[in-house]
Amino acid sequence: MTPVLEVESLKKNYGQLPALKGISFKVDQGEIFGLIGPNGAGKTTTLRIIATLLTPSDGRVSFLGFDLKKDPEKFREKISYLPEEAGAYRNMKGLDYLEFMARFYANNGVELKEYISRGEQISDLGARLKDKVGTYSKGMTRKLLLGRALMTKPALAILDEPTSGLDVINSLEVRETIKSFVKQGISVLLSSHNMLEVEFLSDRVALIDQGQILDAGSPQELKEKYQAPNLEIVFKSCVRSNS
């Protein structure tokens, strides 16, 4: 498999506080790669660096051959980022929001229509797309934002806690949507502290704690390695063996 994303010895310090202590991993094409760990482990910092929001203190990130430090613009053309606590413009209608975001990526009218149509399909909000975002529930907003993140078929979708704040039904729908989109060839890098969700979604996962990757592999490999029934137990055993 060809890696679309390669992260090598990535470090990030917030003043004196080291948030990432040199993490490395690769994401292959068409793969869902999950970062799992507790709050404050460094998951969001990693995703924000790859999404070009934060600059790394050290290390290298390359994406489709482009270097993050040299070509952040190239990253932005090909990635799509869904932050954990993202919002949409409250005064815009859902459909207008999708169009507004799609225009940044579309090269012509045909592409624009295609992106909007896909966004409508993924968000699955039907007639409510004609209402203002300010009237949406948290679940509806999250689905709209997921539609926005995936509609342009990015080479890499970066999803930070994609089901954050959603109820069971909406969470299931979002997971199914992500799964089905990967089949169309896009790669996904996601983070969650919900390890069962990551186990369901990811082809491979990295266990991250206190700014370091403790272990990585497919959920099945890790469960076998740590003789655990699920990733939660894997994580617990992994933390214990590393401490």
Binding site: A51, T52, L53, E73, R76, E85, A86, G87, N91
Partner: protein, 427 residues
């Protein structure tokens, strides 16, 4: 460029929202109401004053005095009866002034003795027309004194015009501006220049305050609504994001200021017929003194204003980055408002050129100050000060834009916050 235009339209749409439209319409209605009330009061004040006169002398001279008052733009309502009864009776009317000509008035005048004419002012509230009463009394006394002194002089010196005796010195007034000189009234010239330019500082203040408020709010709202992170990851340069916000705020700020100004003018502009006739008469004098403004001056003033707006927007953009939410944004705009108020009040009540050097430096260090004094500098030939102001603002804008671009290009756009409790900037 395509994405910049797209983003700019979104920014403008976000700023021109229901709240802004409603507040502007309400403001226009309020100004229109104030204007109607004020104009009615002004009309009352300017109109011929109606006064009551009780003539207890009933002599030929007292009748001549009433005739003179009538000629001097007063409408006379003659009263009859006892003084106390008339005073009480007038309480029930809308008349504001009663003049009592005492009995023996003619006799005392004929003997060249001072005469006491009583005036009674009825105060019925605080308004422009009410406050005119003292002016009316003064005008009335002047007319009466003028009439009586003319009578004395005519009796004693029948061959001489009383006006020539009362005002033997005539004045020919000249005004000098730098090396130019013209004959005319300095008070009239200053009055005309003031009438032509009194709205200018208000316009400047409004444009600068509005634009900066909008750009701070726009960035703070992106943070509060958690949309900034997403926007920063789309394929458009960070500088373009900052510029789109600044330009949109500048344009909407200009529009709001224009609407406010229109409302303000509607409420507080007074009948201009007399003013324009005065200005028309003064036009050649103003031209002779070089106090007129031509197209080139307007262009230079526009440039000065444009640079000042850019200064305000660039400062506001950085303040917007420091704000975490809408509430903080409101607080962060306060220092900017104070900085605009300083040159505003100085331009209204003081002369920057006569201030002490340290005070002058402090005022001119505020980049918004320069357009406030630009017109005056151009008219009175202080071109060195004008150009220095322009260069200062240009350098200020360049430095601030580079700084803004750097902030937007790094983590700081997300991590820079002003923590009120610690009173320091955390980067």
């Amino acid at each position: 460029m395509k994405n910049f235009g797209h983003l700019l339209i979104k920014e403008i749409k976000e700023l021109i929202n229901k709240q802004l439209i409603i507040s502007l319409v309400l403001m226009l209605l309020i100004f229109s109401f104030i204007g109607n009330v004020t104009k009615k009061e002004m009309k009352k004040a300017i109109a011929r004053q109606k006064i009551a006169v009780l003539d207890l002398d009933q002599s030929e001279l007292s009748k001549d005095l009433i005739g003179a008052l009538n000629m001097a733009n007063f409408i006379i309502e003659e009263q009859a009866g006892e003084k106390e009864d008339v005073i009480k009776k007038l309480q029930m009317t809308d008349l504001g002034l009663l003049v009592v000509i005492p009995s023996g008035f003619s006799q005392e005048v004929s003997n060249f003795k001072p005469v006491e004419v009583e005036t009674y002012s009825y105060l019925r509230g605080i308004s422009i027309s009410g406050s005119r009463t003292s002016e009316v009394v003064k005008a009335l006394l002047n007319t009466t004194n003028d009439f009586l002194s003319n009578q004395y002089l005519k009796k004693r010196l029948p061959d001489i015009n009383p006006a020539e005796i009362k005002s033997p010195i005539k004045n020919r007034e000249f005004i000098l501006v730098k090396e130019r000189m013209a004959q005319g009234s300095s008070a009239a010239v200053i009055g005309t220049l003031y009438a032509q330019s009194y709205l200018l500082p208000i316009i400047l203040m409004m444009i600068i305050m509005y634009s900066s408020q909008m750009v701070i709010t726009a960035i703070a709202m992106e943070k509060q609504n958690k949309t900034l992170e997403t926007l920063l990851t789309v394929p458009i340069s960070r500088q373009a994001i900052a510029m789109a916000k600044m330009l949109a705020a500048g344009l909407v700020g200009l529009l709001s200021a224009a609407i406010y100004l229109y409302g303000f003018k509607m409420a507080f502009s007074f009948p201009t017929e007399e003013l324009s006739s005065v200005t028309g008469g003064l036009a050649p004098i103003l031209k002779q003194l070089g106090l007129t403004i031509d197209t080139q001056d307007y262009a230079l003033f526009g440039l000065s204003l444009f640079l000042a707006i850019l200064c305000a927007l660039s400062i506001a953009t950085i303040l917007g980055v420091l704000a975490e939410d809408y509430r903080t944004a409101q607080s962060l705009n306060i220092p900017l408002v104070f900085l605009v108020l300083v040159p505003y009040f100085i331009s209204l009540f003081a002369d920057i050129n006569t201030m002490s050097l340290p005070a002058k430096i402090l005022v001119l260090a505020i980049p918004f100050s320069h357009p406030f004094f630009a017109m005056q500098n151009m008219m009175f030939g202080h071109m060195q000060m004008f150009w220095l102001g322009l260069v200062y603002n240009f350098v200020f804008v360049a430095v601030m834009l580079i700084w803004t671009a750097r902030i937007f290009a790094t983590d700081r756009v997300l991590t820079m916050k002003l923590k009120w409790r610690r009173k320091k900037i955390v980067l």
